[in-house]
Amino acid sequence: MEITRIPLGSWIESGLTWLTSEYSVVTRGISRVTQAGINSLNDGLMWLPEWALLAIIALLCWKLASTRLAIGAVAGLALIWNLGLWNPMIETLTLVVIATLVAVVIALPVGIAAALSERLYRVIMPVLDFMQTMPAFVYLIPAIPFFGIGSVSAIFATVIFSMPPAIRFTTLGIRQVPTELIEAADAYGATRGQKLFKVQLPLSLPTVMAGINQTIMLALSMVVIAAMIGADGLGSEVWRAIQRLRPGDGFEAGIAVVILAMLLDRLTQSLRKSRRS
């Protein structure tokens, strides 16, 4: 007897179809709000002359991190400007910023809840494993029926892909607070809220920041991949270079991604360190 193949794929598809048709109002609403956010941030950043934004970023690096990072930022951004990749870079930056914001806004409460409830922790951890190990491209496919081709779908896929570390690190950070300190807070009669805001959150902040740093990095890599479903930015430059078989163009855009990544990484890391001291 032949064993029937389990129609897992068609189940998922019908589920997704049901979701898209049932919740089209919701998805359309989300789509509109997100698109508006993307547009206004994009326009804002593009409205600034290149040199002005460059100066602002350099100043930020110098204030928060070091002179070295400021010099590196100026050199890197100037190169991107010179290569004519300024606008794609801004588009990518916008997507990363918005995706990270959404991810963090969701991840913090979820991470805190998972840290405080053992049951929730057991439910959430496998879900996070699923989210992280599922090949990133797969998220792009359902994003399209939900939000159509373009930047909103890119944000959707990016949020799902980049959120897990922020949740994990938040949970880890809170769980890592030494039991003696929790006992101390309890012994003095702290309520759950007082314990959370006066002890657990402040002490887990460095770890939470490390998680946010990871989220930003993952968001950047995903935003580039999302060019395949029509997201603008450096990713679409790479994508175009692949389709036209122009390795030179591809590397130029790729180098711009690397510069942006290093800049964001160093900047958020220094934010973490300055908090700690």
Partner: protein, 400 residues
């Protein structure tokens, strides 16, 4: 000792089982089984079994036991950082194990301050903010709690360190912050969980002395956990000795040393019990000041004031002991315009030869509070023995 003192905390029949079937474990306990058998049969650990004792208002009660004796569990049951399995803990009419969540918070805020073995200071808060923690939790207004915390820090000698962070301080100083945090809170009971165990021996001795000084000023009801007999003897008004989650003996340091309840206690204080060969001489300290028979009452009184004592031994020029002059008697002599003090001496004190066994000295202390004079055959004053020194000496012998 004096059972007439008001009771602050009453612990009755307290038991704690770690595991999911506490009832089963307690049933076996009632059948007379001990901790290892219960663990083998049910997988439950009998942490504490049928503990009963009182903590008197204003006393420093030491709960002492080796690791695994359940002392840390016991102190955590008092403020319910650990839930109890059965029994009562009554403080000011409230039975702590049955309190609801809100009442428990309120009870912890009002009644308990805690000092921890590894300090448990908040690393993200300054010394000042750490000291303020308990008050902040209780919602005390900022300016008020700042001044209270400041005073508490002053009390423990940390004035000027308010803006430092805990990791900038030495261990001893960190525990002072821990103590200040507890004092600032002004709860009615101070719980100290192996508070000095993480400190090195010299600093530890200092902290014990300081605690005793604070205690004599404030008379705060204190429950102090330790595994160290020396420490227990040194600071405890009374000692509760725990073994395998059960009370072995409750008593004053003297009672524990002189009348051990069973072989376990006897073995415990075995080294200490060298008091048979220890003598008054070994615990004797040089006399800090004496008066001469030729001194006038004003001179004698002045010397007492200088050394903050309220009685002084009087000798002749060969250091032969003539008697004891009390401050009251000196004042009377001044009023009576007496030229010398020899007519105002009392013989109402104890003197012993240097080879007097140390354990005999205990009984003498309960009679009189004056230091015991140690004299040689010619009645020359060699030194004095104070109460603390006897215990110190015994404890030191116990460590060797």
């Amino acid at each position: 000792m004096d059972e007439t003192r008001p009771v602050k905390i009453q612990v009755r029949g307290l038991s704690k089982v770690f595991g999911k079937q506490p009832k089963k474990a307690l049933e076996l306990r009632d059948q007379g089984l001990k901790r290892p058998e219960i663990l083998e049969k049910t997988g439950q650990t009998l942490g504490l079994s049928d503990i009963s004792f009182d903590v008197y208002e204003g006393e420093l009660l030491v709960i002492m036991g080796l690791s695994g004796s359940g002392k840390s569990t016991l102190i955590r049951c008092l403020n319910r950082l650990i839930d109890t399995t059965e029994g009562e803990i009554v403080i000011d009419g409230e039975n702590i194990p049955t309190l609801g969540e809100k009442a428990l918070l309120e009870c912890r805020r009002r009644h308990f301050s805690m000092v921890f073995q590894n300090f448990a200071l908040f690393p993200h808060r300054t010394v000042q903010q750490n000291a303020e923690f308990g008050l902040e939790i209780r919602g005390v207004e900022k300016s008020e709690r700042q001044s209270i915390a400041h005073n508490a820090l002053k009390q423990v000698g940390l004035e000027g360190w308010e803006d430092a962070y805990p990791n900038q301080l030495s261990g001893g100083m960190q525990q002072r912050v821990g103590l200040a945090r507890a004092l600032a809170n002004d709860a009615s009971v101070l719980l100290m969980d192996e508070a000095f165990s993480a400190l090195d021996p010299l600093i530890r001795k200092d902290m014990q002395q300081e605690l005793l000084q604070l205690q004599s000023k404030m008379q705060k009801t204190t429950v102090f956990i330790t595994h160290d007999l020396d420490e227990a003897l040194n600071i405890g008004d009374r000692i509760v000795l725990l073994k395998d989650g059960e009370v072995v003996q409750i008593g004053t340091p003297e009672e524990i040393l002189t009348k051990p309840a069973d072989d376990y206690v006897r073995r415990f204080i075995e080294g200490v019990d060298r008091s048979r060969i220890l003598t008054a001489e070994s615990a004797m300290r040089p006399v800090r000041t004496t008066a001469r028979d030729s001194d006038g009452p004003r001179t004698a009184l002045h010397r007492m004031r200088d050394h903050s004592i309220d009685s002084i031994y009087v000798t002749d020029r060969d250091r032969q002991l003539l008697g004891l002059l009390e401050a009251d008697a000196a004042s009377r002599a001044i009023e009576a315009k007496a030229e010398t003090i020899t007519d105002h001496l009392t013989q109402d004190f104890r003197k012993v030869p240097p080879d007097e066994p140390l354990q005999n000295l205990f009984a003498m202390f309960s009679e009189k509070s004056y230091p015991i004079a140690v004299v040689d055959e010619q009645q020359r004053l060699l030194g004095v023995v104070v109460k603390g020194a006897v215990l110190d000496e015994l404890a030191r012998a116990g460590e060797q």
